[in-house]
């Protein structure tokens, strides 16, 4: 798998879809889809995220890489939802902003790692609070690009608290990367520097629901 990991990483970083699929198919020949996701796709997506943070690869490669993985996994595992009855219920949303790319990438990466979340699109604070309460959400992922939108996470947290709800909230997007203390200041429970960070966060919270 180690060799395939390097191969898949290089294929995705050079946006070579065919080469990525060949690597994925070779892995599938050796192991069942869920194992391939856990031991190949998830670590490679994490490596891509880390490489972006360090300035070794670019956003365009992350975006295409995430999409290619999402499509390959959808082909191998048509219904990726591993959630059983009683599993936590999660959603992802763009708060106040009109910038959808972050959510798109996080969504692709989660689907590629076999996690299914509801897609709330973009929402304003009050409507989001209503919906989270109505859906009895356990996990809420919020993406923002502009600082004022990031600061609004506090209003979401407080609005939910007033209604007696305390889902776990993970945030991400540029403002949180530029101010590493911001996620705590707005009352989030976790922050992802890169889209792939959403995988361990959601997995952790799925394994230990509140």
């Amino acid at each position: 798998m180690v060799e395939l990991k390097t191969e898949l990483f290089d294929a995705l970083a050079s946006v070579d879809r065919l080469r990525a699929e060949t690597a994925f198919d070779r892995a599938l020949a050796e192991a069942p889809p869920l194992t391939v996701i856990e031991t190949l796709i998830v670590p490679v997506l994490a490596d891509l995220g880390e490489a972006w943070q360090e300035g070794r690869i670019a956003l365009s490669q992350i975006y295409i890489g995430a999409r290619v993985c999402e499509e390959m996994v959808a082909r191998a595992l048509p219904t990726p939802d591993r959630g059983q009855d009683g599993a936590p219920c999660g959603a992802i949303v763009v708060l106040c902003d009109y910038h959808m790319l972050g959510k798109r990438i996080v969504g692709s990466i989660l689907r590629a790692s076999g996690v299914a979340l509801r897609d709330y699109g973009r929402m304003e604070v009050d409507a989001l609070v209503d919906r989270v309460v109505a859906d009895r959400l356990d996990i809420l992922l919020i993406s923002t690009l502009m600082l004022p939108a990031a600061l609004k996470v506090r209003e979401v947290r407080d609005g939910l608290a007033r209604r007696g709800h305390r889902p776990r909230i993970a945030v991400g997007g540029a403002p949180f990367r530029f101010d590493p203390t911001l996620w705590q200041a707005v009352g989030a429970d976790a922050m992802g520097e890169t889209a792939a960070d959403a995988i361990p966060i959601v997995q952790r919270w799925t394994e230990s629901p509140r």
């Binding site: 946006v15 972006w52 300035g55 690869i57 670019a58 956003l59 365009s60 490669q61 975006y63 295409i64 902003d97 009109y98 910038h99 959808m100 790319l101 798109r104 502009m146 600082l147 004022p148 939108a149 600061l151 403002p175 530029f178 101010d179 590493p180 203390t181 911001l182 200041a185």
Partner: protein, 354 residues
């Protein structure tokens, strides 16, 4: 007496002026000084003119910055701007909803867009007030970065990887518009043009693709802008492409707070000056002491020998950054920015903040 313009010209010539020039790129703060909402403030050239002059007097920066908001350029293409009370306006729905719309897209004329006219009026009024003492920095969004607002980032990345013909056509349209818009600002009295091109940063596309796309577009465009230019990556990273950026003919690069200014300065090798790299988003919670430490750190890393303008990393200070922080930054420049920088020991400053 040394004017701000003298100071900037000297540093761009890679020599040491009397002190490090400082560009405190405040836009929305002008609304605060006039007690107006952000929307009302940007609705009239007189507001922005007065706001910029007040900000210059209060923060004693070395430039005027008649930039309104990036979305004005999308207005020229028929799009709209959305305002909020506590932050920068943003572009509304994409104007290019389907890639096929690119086939018939035409460059808008600057004179046809009231928003752009307000900027030109502001520049002319500022020029009448300051003459050649303070540089007036005009702004354009690069033809290569504008499509993120014209069509959305996802659709643009898809186009970049899948449809080179339409990319070429879109670049031609945006190039024509960008050149006219930049030159109109220079004619109105702008001293130079800041070319915002974050999509060319290694944060957004890899170097190989930049060399095929963003760089040739920048070369063509900057060559036709009839004045000095600075390239701003809006806090996107530049390591490894500093020389490539210099090859486009730009005189300055706006650099990221996620990078070490000393390393970038070494990469620049005297070919291009640096502008940066205080973290604007983090700045809103700085104490005056932290502000001073940050100023000191950046000057230590990149100030020696000139070729450096102290500024924020993005090209716009967030609305939430308080007055005290901006004043503390400016005071710290007086304290630590006077040449020669005798207090800087060795050839390296401290580690960059994240």
């Amino acid at each position: 007496m040394t004017t701000s313009l003298d100071r900037v010209v000297t540093t761009l010539g890679h020599r040491e002026p009397d002190r490090v020039p400082v560009f405190l790129l405040t836009t929305m703060h002008g609304a605060k000084t006039l007690g107006l909402s952000i929307r009302d403030y940007f609705a009239r050239a007189e507001h922005v003119t007065e706001g910029q002059l007040r900000l210059l007097a209060r923060y004693r920066g070395d430039c005027l910055y008649p930039f309104f908001h990036a979305s004005l350029e999308v207005e020229a293409f028929g799009g709209e701007t959305m305002f909020i009370d506590d932050g920068p306006p943003n572009a509304g729905e994409p104007v290019v909803r389907d890639p096929s719309a690119i086939d018939t897209l035409e460059p808008p004329r600057v004179a046809d867009c009231p928003g752009l006219a307000r900027v030109l009026t502001t520049i002319a009024a500022l020029k009448a007030r300051v003459g050649d003492t303070v540089p007036i920095v005009g702004v354009v969004i690069s033809p290569f970065s504008l499509p993120v607002m014209q069509m959305g980032f996802e659709a643009y990345l898809d186009l970049l990887y899948n449809d080179p013909d339409r990319v070429a056509r879109l670049m031609a349209v945006n190039h024509a518009f960008c050149v006219e818009w930049a030159n109109a600002q220079l004619t109105a009295g702008a001293t130079g043009i800041c070319y915002f091109d974050p999509v060319s940063s290694i944060t957004c596309v890899p170097r190989a693709r930049y060399l095929e796309t963003g760089q040739p577009v920048a070369k063509r465009t900057l060559a036709r802008i009839a004045g000095p230019t600075a390239t701003h990556l809006a806090s996107g990273r530049a390591a490894g492409i500093v020389g490539d950026l210099a090859d486009t003919g730009t005189a300055v690069i706006g650099v990221s707070c996620h990078e070490d200014p000393a390393a970038l300065k070494a990469e620049a090798a005297g070919r291009v000056a640096l502008l940066g790299n205080l973290n604007g988003v983090a700045m809103r919670t700085w104490s005056p002491t932290e502000a001073e430490a940050e100023v000191k750190r950046v000057i230590a890393a990149a100030g020696s020998g000139g070729g450096f303008i102290l500024s924020d990393t993005h090209g716009e200070i967030p609305w939430q950054v308080p007055d005290e922080v901006l004043l503390a930054i400016r005071d710290a420049v007086d304290r630590w920015g006077c040449y020669p920088l005798d207090w800087v020991d060795g050839d390296r400053g401290p580690e960059p903040a994240s």
